[in-house]
C-alpha cells in the first residue's frame, strides 16, 4: 500500500476533510489537520483494510522560516509532528504529519490509541516542547524536571548554569 492509496482509502471512508499529501524529495506523508488527528488515527488502527497496529515513532521538528534565492518564503515557521506507523498485516509503513503554529504547539494525544505513543510524546514534549492534550502523564522524560527550555528547538539558548554546575565553555558552544 502506498501513501497515496492510504489517503484514497481514508477519503473513501469519509475522513478526507482537510487531508493533503506531502510529497517531499524522498518519503511521502499524509498531512492531517490537528483537529482530525485522533479520528484519523483511530480509523487507521481499527479499520480492517488499514490495520496500522504498530506505532513506530512520534517526533516533532521545529521548522524555521526558509526563503529561496529571491527572498520568497518557501516554508512558513512552525512545528511539524510526524508519526510513523506500521501495519503488520499489510506490510505497510505510513508516515503522517501534523503541522502546528509556533504560538500554539498543542495537539491531542494519541496515547489512548497506541500506548506506545506515551513515551514518545513525553520525549517530544521534553525536547521539542509540544504539549499533548489528554496525555495521562505529561512530564519530562530524558531531562531533569527542573530543566528550562526545549533543546531541539532551533532557537534554544544553551544555559549558563544548571543548579550549581557551571556550563559555560571557552570557546562558547557553536550555534547551528
Amino acid at each position: 500500500m502506498t501513501t497515496q492509496e492510504i489517503k484514497q482509502a481514508l477519503e473513501k471512508d469519509g475522513l478526507g476533510a482537510g487531508l493533503s499529501l506531502f510529497e517531499g524529495p524522498k518519503d511521502p506523508a499524509i498531512v492531517v489537520p490537528r483537529e482530525q488527528l485522533v479520528k484519523v488515527a483511530r480509523h487507521l488502527r481499527d479499520a480492517r483494510h488499514l490495520a496500522f497496529d504498530l506505532l513506530i515513532m512520534v517526533t516533532g521538528t521545529h521548522m524555521i522560516e526558509k526563503r529561496d534565492a529571491k527572498g520568497v518564503v518557501v516554508r512558513e515557521p512552525g512545528f511539524e509532528l510526524i508519526y510513523h506507523v506500521r501495519s503488520v498485516k499489510n506490510r505497510a509503513l505510513l508516515a503522517f504529519k501534523v503541522k502546528l503554529p509556533i504560538g500554539d504547539p498543542t495537539v491531542d494525544s494519541v496515547s489512548a490509541i497506541w500506548p506506545a505513543a506515551d513515551w514518545h510524546e513525553r520525549e517530544t514534549f521534553d525536547l521539542v516542547g509540544i504539549t499533548f492534550k489528554g496525555h495521562p502523564d505529561l512530564r519530562r522524560i530524558l531531562l531533569p524536571d527542573d530543566w528550562e527550555g526545549h533543546p531541539l528547538r532551533k532557537d534554544y539558548a544553551y544555559p549558563k548554569a544548571y543548579r550549581d554546575i557551571n556550563l559555560e565553555v571557552d570557546p562558547p558552544w557553536p550555534t547551528p
Binding site: G24, P25, K26, D27, D53, L54, L55, I56, M57, T59, T61, I82, H84, V88, R91, L93, A95, W114, P115, A116, D118, W119, H120, E123, L127, R140, I141, L142, L143, P144, P151, L152, P174, P176
Partner: protein, 404 residues
C-alpha cells in the same frame, strides 16, 4: 500473617487491626496493631540487574509489585542535538555509542538512512562485508543478552561460557577495524577497509566451533530446571500488548509474531539469504513469557551464523567504498525519510531531514530499547519483586540507547 498480606492496603489507610488466627499463646479475641502500607523501593540506578543506569521506582505490597515507574535519562547525551550540528560523516562514530553492544548494527542503520537520502550506491562487496559484520555483532550482542540474563536470575557460570564465545567475535571484529566495542567500521558509502588476509577462514573456523558450543550452552542454562522455573510463565506479554506498546525485535517474536524487518522490508542483501525467523511457542510455559524471549535469542544466533556462512560463499571481489563520499563535507541531497533496520534489540530507525547540507536538519533515532522498556510500567504490577529482575533482564535493554 496471611490476612495482612492478602488484604490490599493503600498508602493512605490508617492503622488497621487484625486478629491473628491460630496463635495458641494469645487469647482468640486479642486485637493486635499491625500496620500495613505500601513501600516504595528504588531499584537502580546503580543496581546491577538494571543493566546500566535505569532506575525503576517500585511500589510493593509485601512481595507483590503494585506499581512501577521506570525513570530514564541518566545517560542522556543530547544525541539528536549533536546529530544536527555535526556533519553526516562525523556523526557515524556517535552512533556506536548508543547501542554499544551492537555498534555495527547502529553504524549500519545510520549509514543506510543517509545513503538512501543522498542516493549513494554501495558496492556489492561492501554490502557483503557489512552483512558479515552486523550478523557477527548480532551474535555477540545476543550472547551478552543471554549470558547476563543467566546472571540476573542467579546462574553465574553460563556467563563465562557466553563471554568466551563473545571474546572470539570481538577478536574477529577487532581484526578488521581495530576496535572491540565502538567500531566506526561501516561508513557512509561502504566500509572502512577490505577483509584482511585470513579473516574469512577464521570466521568459518569460529562458526564451526560456535554451533557446537551453543549446544553446550543450552545444556548449561536453557534447559536448566532452576532457570526454567525462574523464567517460564513469568512476565507474559500478549501479542496485543506487544503491538500496542510498539515492541519489536526478539521481544515481539517471543510473543509469537513472525515479524522481522530483514524479511518484511529487506534492506542490504537480506532477500538473497535463506534464514528462518524463530518465534516463541510457549515450550516451557506460555507464549510470550521470559523464557520464550530468551529462547528466540538463542535460535536467532544460529540463524545469524547461517547468514554469515551464506554471505561468505556469495561474496564477490570488488570495490568497498562508493566513489563520491570520501570527504568529510560530503553533502547529502535534500529530502526526508525514515529507514528501519533490524537491530538485535528490535527496530532501529533513523528519521532524517536533510536540506542538502553536510549535516542533517533533524536527525531522530527510533531506539528499540526505548520502546521495549515502556511496557515495564504495565508488565510489573502484580508480579513478585524477585520476578521484576527476571522481567527487566528479559527485555535486554541497553541504556545508552534508551537515553541517547
Amino acid at each position: 500473617m496471611a490476612d495482612a498480606v492478602t488484604t490490599a492496603p493503600s498508602s493512605s489507610s490508617p492503622a488497621r487491626t487484625f486478629i491473628l488466627p491460630g496463635d495458641p499463646l494469645r487469647p482468640p479475641d486479642t486485637h493486635v496493631d499491625v500496620r500495613t502500607q505500601e513501600l516504595q523501593i528504588n531499584m537502580g540506578p546503580q543496581h546491577p540487574s538494571t543493566h546500566g543506569v535505569l532506575r525503576v521506582a517500585i511500589w510493593v505490597d509485601g512481595e507483590i509489585v503494585t506499581r512501577a515507574d521506570p525513570d530514564i535519562g541518566y545517560l542522556h547525551r543530547c544525541a539528536e542535538k549533536i546529530g544536527e550540528s555535526v556533519t553526516n560523516i562525523q556523526y557515524v562514530p556517535y552512533t556506536d555509542r548508543y547501542d554499544y553492544l551492537a555498534a555495527m548494527n547502529n553504524n549500519l542503520g545510520y549509514c543506510l538512512a543517509v545513503e538512501r537520502i543522498a542516493e549513494v550506491e554501495v558496492p556489492e562487496r561492501a554490502q557483503y562485508i557489512r552483512t558479515i559484520a552486523v550478523e557477527l555483532n548480532r551474535i555477540a550482542s545476543h550472547l551478552m543478552a543471554v549470558g547476563t540474563y543467566g546472571l540476573d536470575v542467579g546462574a553465574f557460570t553460563p556467563f563465562f561460557y557466553a563471554f568466551r564465545e563473545r571474546e572470539e567475535i570481538l577478536r574477529i571484529l577487532e581484526w578488521i577495524c581495530g576496535a572491540r566495542l565502538t567500531y566506526n567500521f561501516i561508513r557512509i558509502g561502504g566500509v572502512m577497509r577490505d577483509a584482511p588476509e585470513g579473516w574469512i577462514p577464521d570466521i568459518l573456523k569460529f562458526l564451526d566451533l560456535f554451533e557446537s558450543r551453543l549446544d553446550e550452552f543450552n545444556d548449561l542454562l536453557t534447559h536448566n530446571h532452576i532457570f526454567v522455573q525462574r523464567t517460564a510463565n513469568v512476565g507474559v506479554i500478549t501479542l496485543e500488548d506487544a503491538l500496542a506498546y510498539g515492541i519489536t525485535g526478539p521481544m515481539l517474536r517471543g510473543s509469537g509474531l513472525r515479524y522481522d524487518l530483514r524479511r518484511e522490508a529487506p534492506y542490504l542483501l537480506y532477500d538473497r539469504f535463506e534464514f528462518d525467523v524463530p518465534i516463541g511457542t510457549g515450550i516451557k510455559g506460555q507464549v510470550g513469557d521470559c523464557w520464550d524471549r530468551y529462547w528466540v535469542r538463542i535460535l536467532e544466533m544460529r540463524e545469524s551464523a547461517r547468514i554469515v556462512r551464506q554471505a561468505i560463499t556469495q561474496m564477490p571481489a570488488g570495490e568497498i567504498m562508493a566513489k563520491n563520499v570520501r570527504h568529510l563535507a560530503f553533502k547529502s541531497k535534500p529530502g526526508e525519510g525514515y529507514l528501519g533496520t533490524e537491530n538485535p534489540r528490535g527496530e532501529l530507525g533513523y528519521y532524517l531531514i536533510s536540506e542538502g547540507q553536510p549535516n542533517s536538519y533533524r536527525s531522530r533515532i527510533r531506539a528499540p530499547s526505548f520502546c521495549n522498556l515502556s511496557i515495564l510500567g504495565k508488565l510489573l504490577p502484580g508480579t513478585m519483586l524477585a520476578d521484576a529482575v527476571a522481567i527487566i533482564g528479559s527485555t535486554d535493554i541497553v541504556l545508552g540507547e534508551v537515553d541517547r
